[in-house]
Symmetry: C2
Subunit: 390 residues, 2 copies
């Protein structure tokens, strides 16, 4: 006992990211992208998809307009209407659980699925040219109930109750219209991607995630935002989501030297195996005394690196999740992966490489998936996607 | 559309509880109660129970000793050992995902289930006199897989990843000993009980929860802490946990005037229906012009009030939870209720009244349950519950 206890080593907290200010807010309306994409990732997320249950295009317009008005209010920390109406016969317009919690940096980002841009709604001609179902990928273990959807709602906030309230009340509005039905949802805790000025967070494999993520405006311009096509598509982006289950109990039995080789980085520092500090550029050509590359060609950072993928980069905006325990009593958890890119083929190209040969695949399974087009932010007085319908 | 949008009303954030400092820590060792009971509730919780899989009392001692050493480290924001050992053949002692996140006010509170104090382990003579299985209660819809357990771990923190890491690494230690197996777990987001100096939070029914909760030392002395029996039981407490599913979509269709009657309070202000502000004392005798009491005798606060229960009070330390969507596509969420009291019969007395006639029962179901004895904190150099075994 004593020996075990004595082996415990202290690791004091760093000073960055230690204070959370729940009074901050982001604007919903704007002239370019929706909030929640280039926005520095908040601490919590709630993601939900919906199936359209209407064949009338006008119903989609009404739903998007109702959602837009509600989101604009909630992102300011306001309710979406009276919680306690004075009339005895009235139901509340807002469910109330986020009252007085503050905006908590809430962003709600809406995505439009492939079905919207079809002949059902007379909108085939408006389809963003690269929007389509994702191809089958080698890591797929997709569960139908965790896959697809015609609309996506990504709510992120520094208070989980604020994020939950946003999705709950948008689901309630959808239900009230009869135009859309909930499909699947994931709550995320602990951001697993870094934005500008943020410490790099860790995923549930214990590794820093997002060291090489996009952070600069120029990178967003090049890799994230759609820059051509009709005006209403510009500063839109293709949203890809993947629910990635991680077999963390198995992972925890692996030697850390093996884990480091799987990622190509050191677990604690995040430095590439060829470097000394987190942000050192990986040297994929560097060899050891035996002539083998120090970073294995199958390491996660080697497979995903833009140097090895014709310069392709995508924005990752992921969160850790847990589903409790599985049927075997093992911890059931993973990564709710979200990426934004100006071509979903970029995600597919990277994931095809990662899924086919990544040593990580022994420990993960892609169980959920979705693809959506996130249109630009609505201008003040308009609703999201309004120009699609004109 | 315009009319709907115009009806939206702003509700600016209050100034209290708006900043979260993730560098704060609580001590694990002490001369009285464990941390995590009278500690002001943190923002997140992770609760897990375990079944003992050993018949040897010594195995329980080893597990509690290993857990104690680990908890003491984690509550200081430290790892429980090296994340990245220098030896190529070594697994990490700590899984690493909370590295550098800070203590985040983490508390880990251990509970001991009824089975521990039996002849199996030669510990019948040490049984806390009031520890036994809970009686059947009128609101029970208990699922066996969400009920019971021989050990409980309640981790609470202001960062959910810190709470998750604590439970994960304690589960890993348990697995490594072969002495205990995970049983059930609930992650809580958003505290739903107020401690001293805290704003009263809201549950997912949108109502303030915990206005009349215990806050003063004298109240804890009278209602929470065990004050007699052997020294090792003093400043222990009986922990009752209930996973309470809430049918929030049905609730949201109810008139708020009805909801107010269900609780006996106003939804927004939290004031009793007989008062003007949250902390006004309810007047259960006050009648309206028709001669009916303003607060219905079946209202939640009437049924639960100490004035109507021979002075009985319990400490509530609950959290909101979500399980996503149910099989019907409805939001599946509720309250992870935790209470501490110096006699579990106090919980049973209150819940018998609430479960039999509370108008709230149309909207809730108790699906999980557990009872444990939380012994006092270990003294420095000892492990939790050590005196039980001497």
């Amino acid at each position: 006992m004593a020996a075990h206890a004595a082996a415990f080593a202290a690791s004091p907290a760093q000073s960055g990211d230690d204070m959370v200010d729940l009074t901050k807010s982001h604007p919903f309306y704007g002239d370019a992208q929706q909030a929640g994409i280039s926005t520095e990732p908040q601490r919590h997320s709630m993601f939900m998809t919906f199936d359209l249950t209407t064949a009338k295009v006008g119903d989609i317009q009404v739903l998007l307009a109702l959602w837009s008005a509600a989101i604009a209010q909630m992102m300011q920390g306001a309710t979406i209407g009276q919680v306690e109406p004075p009339q005895d016969s009235a139901v509340g317009l807002d469910t109330g659980e986020a009252l007085n919690l503050g905006p908590a940096s809430l962003t709600v980002t809406i995505g439009l699925g492939p079905k919207i841009f079809t002949d059902i709604y007379g909108l085939s001609h408006q389809r963003p040219p690269l929007l389509r179902e994702l191809i089958a990928l080698p890591s797929d273990s997709l569960v139908p109930g965790l896959t697809g959807g015609d609309l996506s709602v990504q709510a992120c906030a520094d208070d989980p109750q604020v994020a939950y309230h946003a999705v709950r009340d948008l689901a309630r509005i959808a239900k009230s219209t009869g135009s859309a039905q909930t499909r699947w949802t994931v709550m995320g805790f602990g951001r697993a991607s870094a934005g500008r000025g943020q410490q790099t967070p860790r995923n549930l494999l214990g590794f820093k995630d997002g060291t090489r993520n996009l952070k600069e405006d120029a990178e967003f311009e090049k890799f994230v935002w759609v820059k051509d096509g009709p005006a209403w598509q510009r500063y839109g982006s293709y949203q890809v989501v993947r629910k990635i289950q991680m077999h963390i109990e198995n992972w925890d039995t692996d030697r850390v030297s093996d884990q480091n080789n799987v990622f190509g980085r050191h677990k604690v520092s995040g430095a590439p195996l060829t470097g000394k500090t987190e942000f050192d550029t990986p040297d994929f050509a560097k060899t050891d005394a035996s002539g083998n590359t120090v970073i294995l060609p199958t390491a996660h950072i080697a497979l995903a690196a833009h140097e090895n993928n014709n310069g392709i980069r995508i924005l990752r905006r992921s969160y850790n999740y847990t589903d409790g325990l599985n049927q075997f009593g093992q911890l059931d958890a993973g990564l709710f992966f979200m990426s934004y890119q100006n071509d979903p083929a970029h995600f597919e190209a990277l994931q095809t490489r990662l899924g086919a040969s990544d040593a990580l695949n022994e420990y993960i399974a892609h169980i959920g998936s979705g693809i959506f087009f996130a249109p630009p932010a609505p201008k003040q007085g308009e609703y999201i996607g309004q120009a699609i319908f004109s």
